[in-house]
Symmetry: C2
């Protein structure tokens, strides 16, 4: 999505440790009209797939998931990040390690909100090594729902998580796919 | 908002300790079309107020804030909940105690996303004792922005936080205002 690549070049900030900050339009501050355009593009990419639910994880995935869902007329379900291991029987859960935040948490979602009848599209703001998305895929598997694919705003391709999922046969669509951001220069994959 | 009151009566679940669960449409699972209606009602209530920014807090405030923002054509800014006290100089922060979760956190937002030129509407999913909203008000104050009011999906009026803010002169609009939920029966304020 050309407009997103331009926005990243204009407003994104590269910090140390392969961190790309897009707090000016995608998290912290949300450029609502622009995120709605991203949602529209996700809806276009997965048109005809008969998706019944969008699945994301708190918190920065919620806005783009919501935007895509308004265009696709489906509900959003979001997993919560639970720091304690104290979760009940009525939830699906998956342990996730976050390299960005240097912590580990249980992603948790109530069983009542994902079921074997669902066709699920995972939506998230970032895909790097893919740890969060592996947690979401794990929970979709536990529910018996069919996983149609994953739509990501910004993939950091050089961290390999997206290609690993594609090699396993998952359809992963990233609106912007960054192949490198060395020496402050962002290069997108064609 | 009549439709919200009906939805609460139909889908809300009262748990012990004054907890009302609306996970089927407002958090965990988000009924996107319905949340968009709520956003439209918030936009109608604050029409003509020249609001420049909607301010909320992660995670469950994001969807309704986003919905209101699409109708008002303004960005959303959301505060993060930071468990550590380690925050930099470039942020506004306020300490919040959550009775629901029994913990204390620092609400944090980057200074670059709230400024003295802004006219801010606070939006959140729940208002009970009002601790989270006090944190948001505190940060708006630190930024020098003008606080226009607060729009809440569901206020638990019997916990007093909303009326306390109204007595101080803040405009607080709740789409559903619950006056009691004793013995499993929900009563709305007229």
């Amino acid at each position: 999505m050309k407009a997103l690549e331009e926005k990243i070049l204009k407003e994104g900030k590269i910090l140390g440790g392969d961190v790309l900050k897009v707090g000016s339009f995608l998290n912290q501050r949300i450029d609502v009209a622009f995120v709605m355009q991203m949602g529209e593009e996700i809806a276009r990419l997965f048109e005809g797939e008969k998706i019944t639910k969008i699945f994301t994880i708190e918190s920065s995935g919620i806005a783009i998931a919501f935007a895509a869902a308004t265009k696709m007329n489906v509900p959003v379900v979001f997993a919560k990040k639970n720091k304690s291991a104290n979760v009940g029987d009525d939830v699906y859960t998956s342990r996730v390690h976050s390299f960005t935040h240097g912590n580990t948490y249980d992603a948790v979602v109530s069983k009542e909100f994902l079921s074997a009848d669902d066709k699920v599209l995972i939506v998230d703001d970032f895909l790097a090594r893919g740890n969060a998305i592996h947690g979401l895929i794990d929970m979709v598997g536990q529910s018996g729902a069919e996983l149609i694919g994953a739509a990501i705003a910004i993939e950091k391709g050089f961290q390999g998580g997206g290609d690993e999922l594609r090699e396993k046969g998952l359809r992963v669509e990233s609106l912007a796919l960054i192949d490198s951001m060395e020496e402050g220069k962002i290069t997108f994959r064609n």
